[in-house]
């Protein structure tokens, strides 16, 4: 039941309107509470030691994620960097690929120069 006021030729009438078939109320955009955002916990790949056949990569070695060409070295030896800092830029498949620091630390040495072709897995930077 809804109470309405209708004005006709300046004269107001109060009317009661009963809505017989209202249908279902429109669904709210997101019924109930917004479900909280949930995501998988972050983990990084456990290194495989040399004794289990994992090669000779040492802790702090940053390998190339793919085969490509070095475009630029974006850090200097001796520089301290945060985890996730951009270390260098590669080009492959006509796209730039950034290589980031896996953890905070100091850049010990850079092993490649702009223009070098690098293989997947090749160590690019040593960090400590």
């Amino acid at each position: 039941m809804k109470k309405l006021r209708v004005t006709v030729d300046g004269k107001a009438y109060d009317v009661l309107v009963e809505i017989l078939d209202e249908g279902a109320p429109p669904a709210p955009a997101n019924p109930g509470a917004h479900p909280a955002h949930v995501e998988s916990a972050h983990v990084s790949a456990p290194p495989v030691s040399a004794r289990s056949g994992g090669g000779t990569a040492a802790a702090g070695d940053v390998p190339s994620p793919l085969a490509g060409k070095v475009v630029s070295i974006d850090v200097r030896p001796g520089q301290s960097v945060e985890a996730g800092a951009q270390l260098l830029t590669l080009e492959a498949m006509k796209m730039n690929t950034y290589v980031f620091a896996p953890a905070a630390g100091t850049v010990k040495e850079t092993l490649v120069a702009p223009g070098d072709a690098v293989a997947e897995g090749q160590v690019l930077v040593r960090m400590s």
């Binding site: 669904a27 997101n30 456990p46 056949g53 994620p65 492959a92 690929t97 950034y98 997947e120």
Partner: protein
Amino acid sequence: MPIDEKLLHDLDERRANALVSGAPAKVEERHDKGLLTARERVDSLFQPGSFQEFGMFAEHQCTNFGMGEKKLPADGVITGVGLMEGRPVAAFSQDFLVAGGSLGRVHAQKICDLMDYAQRAGVPVIAFNDSGGARIQEGVLSLAGYGQVFFRNVLLSGVVPQIAVIAGPCAGGAAYSPALMDFLIMTKTGASMFICGPEVIKAATGQVTTIDEIGSAAAHATVSGNVHFVANDDGHAIEIVRKLLSFLPANNLVDPPHRPTPELDLSDVPAFEEIIPGDPKKPFDVHHVIEALVDDADFLEVHMEWAKSIVVGFARIQGIVTGIVANQPMVRSGTLDIDSSDKAARFIRFCNLYSIPIVTLVDVPGFMPGVAQERGGIIRHGAKMLFAYAAATVPKITVIMRKAYGGAYLAMCSRDLGADMVFAWPTAEIAVMGAEGAVKIVFRREIKDAADPAKEEAALVKKYREEFSSPYQAAANAQITDVIRPAHTRAAVAMALRNTLSKRETRPPKKHGNIPM
């Protein structure tokens, strides 16, 4: 004459004993380690008081090796059905406090009975795995038990969603039951999963390794791809289960829980135009595009840490449950490789099973070149993507953001593989191959005969790029639905999903296709 009080008292006592797994002291020990008991895992999954247990008083029948004397409450596994957000869900939870959660004949039968029930009732199955493995005293009956569980995993596959939580040890053959399920969630610490452990590997091969290297959540979530989600602890694992189920239907015959907004919001989202860099060489994080596209930027990413050159996961777009498949230009140039093809193909097939529309976001320069890729079988792995998309009959909407070259263009749900609508941004480059490569082949002679070959080549590359590395060649050939402003993407995709939700497509009947493995 009222009921004999003794009978009720006896029942209460039996129940109380089962509730503490017959070992109250060990329950405390477990709590001290920050672990939930098998029963607490089930209880925290469901709405309070809604768990109906099957077979609390089940007991093993084994008499070998003095087992006749041993009481194993519920035979080491809690099974039953309860309510999650008002929806019934079946669950079983192996009880490590009872004979190390080892699987004997009755234990297996309880799991099988529950799975049979879930199939009849059409409800999802959640499996908490925490078991030392086969109950050796029960011999071949224990082994048979695993086989019966595997058989049902396969029967239920594609009928009801199956989610495994690896919350403790899960070794040897036991690992194959979760592997046959749809999603695996593994807790960061305390859980391990492997076929052959470090001791066996050492004895057989001489290799020295650790559980961390081969069987931890980190190893499976980043390297092997066996695990879809990593949980910080039991509680987080249960949150992930709940979130995952919020996108899934109870079974393959009902719709996913869409919550269509009463009105479609067709407004522009300028963020899309800020995300896409002006320089076509510069990568961007496709997560930003997904966040701008989906409701509340709420995206449940599957396989977040594995094969990261492709991003897959669930979200809602103006209320419609959607599976998102997106190239990630930040990782390995967004190329399709062996692992990313496997990851996407499995996700696409899951969406298809449960009527979840698929939105594909494309920026793919091609399949990953390399000796390891070719020798590793990129042909048969990449073929899985083609197979999965072509076989999927759910609504398929594709947005070509940037690069879409060659076979990889086709593999990312092109019109030819059955996309219902394909939108392209003006930045799209849809072509059989990149300009540099194409010009070398098409104009080999012209370049060779030119007075200045390098200059001629550069000019031809420029011309090719203008003519072919754009969305308009594809649009002119009616290969795409429309070229849109990036800001209009959310509106276009939301409308496309609404318009296509009633899609039905029948294919010739057959047992199943022969997807390359």
